[in-house]
């Protein structure tokens, strides 16, 4: 088909867009992990704070991504970065927060209290207990949260093509404006494959990092 010809002909461009896409997603998720995991751990201290934080986070999730862009652009244009890479990364980071924070919170809270007592009883400090007992046990669930965040972010970044951020969404936006089916299909396929590959890659990581003693987690 002509689409196949188009793809083969444009592999370098496809590669470039993919890298653009991945750069936005990885920075966003990276920052989200750095802020989200400690936040998730912190809110295990107080039920009320946890409820508020999680509720606000879920409200953010219900805001459509293009709407969030629409809101960020006026704000960020004050500092000259209204469109392009920065609003895309910030929006993606915001969407990545809730899955990571919520999963971290749930995972740490669900660590059997008996294990915590055992660790304390053995003379571990709080940070040692976190590092040696709670986080390793919680890790698979946290990674599951990262997985969800990454898949969502791939979608958000696709839309970011419309605010000049580049990425694989540009094939789709051009395909629509130029009524070019080849670009449409290329974009759709590339996004689909990227998302599926990322999901499975992180699933593999999740299983790898599950401590051997724990039951295998369902996908």
């Amino acid at each position: 088909m002509e689409t196949l010809a188009f793809i083969l002909h444009n592999l370098p461009a496809i590669g470039e867009r993919t890298l653009e896409h991945l750069s936005i997603v990885s920075v966003a998720v990276g920052v989200a992990i750095v802020t989200g995991v400690p936040l998730g751990i912190a809110i295990t201290q107080s039920r009320r704070t946890a409820d508020t934080v999680l509720y606000l986070g879920s409200i953010v999730m219900t805001i459509p991504s293009i709407a969030l862009f629409g809101i960020l652009i006026p704000i960020l244009s004050k500092i000259g970065h209204g469109i392009g890479w920065l609003p895309a990364v910030i929006a993606a980071m915001l969407y990545a927060q809730l899955p990571i924070v919520r999963n971290t919170y749930t995972a740490i809270r669900n660590v059997d209290p008996a294990l915590r007592s055992a660790a304390d009883g053995m003379g571990m400090s709080v940070s040692q207990r976190l590092a040696r007992v709670e986080i390793p046990i919680a890790l698979p669930v946290i990674i599951a949260g990262v997985r969800v965040a990454v898949v969502i972010n791939i979608g958000v970044t696709a839309i970011a093509a419309y605010i000049g951020a580049g990425g694989l969404g540009t094939f789709i936006s051009r395909g629509i404006s130029q009524s070019d089916i080849r670009q449409l299909i290329t974009g759709a396929l590339a996004l689909g494959l990227l998302a599926i590959a990322a999901d499975y890659a992180l699933l593999w990581l999740q299983r790898r990092l599950t401590p051997k003693g724990l039951a295998p987690r369902a996908a």
Binding site: L54, Y55, I63, I181, A195, D199
Partner: protein, 247 residues
Amino acid sequence: MNTAATSARSRSPYWALLAIALAIAWGLYASGLAADILRYRKDIGYLTKQHLTLVAISGSAAIVFGVGIGIWLSRPWMARWAESAIQAVNMLTSIPTLGKLALMMSFLGIGPLPAIVGLWIATLLPIIRNTYEGIRIVPAHLTDAARGMGMAPTTVLLRIELPNALFVILAGVRTAMAVNVGTAPIAFLIGGGGLGELIFTGIDLQQQGMMLAGAIPTALLAVAVDFLFGQAQYWLVPRGVNPLRAT
């Protein structure tokens, strides 16, 4: 769980949200954007109706088909194919919605129809998954007791399996519908209309007022739909199996 503590606990997030909403409203007013936004009042009204039509049609079709397919996959005779079917559903779910809409456009062209079909598929998948999972985790001994007491298979489904799975099913519907409302703006790109028109045109023309005129109602709609289905979860699921109403 005493009710005073419950309501105290559950109210503080709402206060925080209200505070933030007021802050945003004040910010808009102070910066003059509020006046800008209100200029588009008529468009907002018209486009919101369009938007809600898209959501209503694609959403209700998604619920009907999603729950139906989910029930079908959960039947014992489907056991062999169910797991692979769900794997396929999972894979399709991770494909970004923009991609799905793009594919719809390549098959169906431009207009409300491909938009509705695209939204329908995107909303359908999480509902199928949650319905299947929700029914699957109903403890086997309950269906055993039900059959042993002389319930016909359809009755077991309607009186035992579905009520016990309802909370999970509604959770899936709630998420899926919120995603539906949130993704509907993109439908504008392939000719589906809706509030996306204000947002995307606003971005193109660098008109912040126009952008916000589209973005804010969309966000509010999404929150409203989520709240609505949250209420559905609270009221429709029987007390005995409803964590929100546990006494």
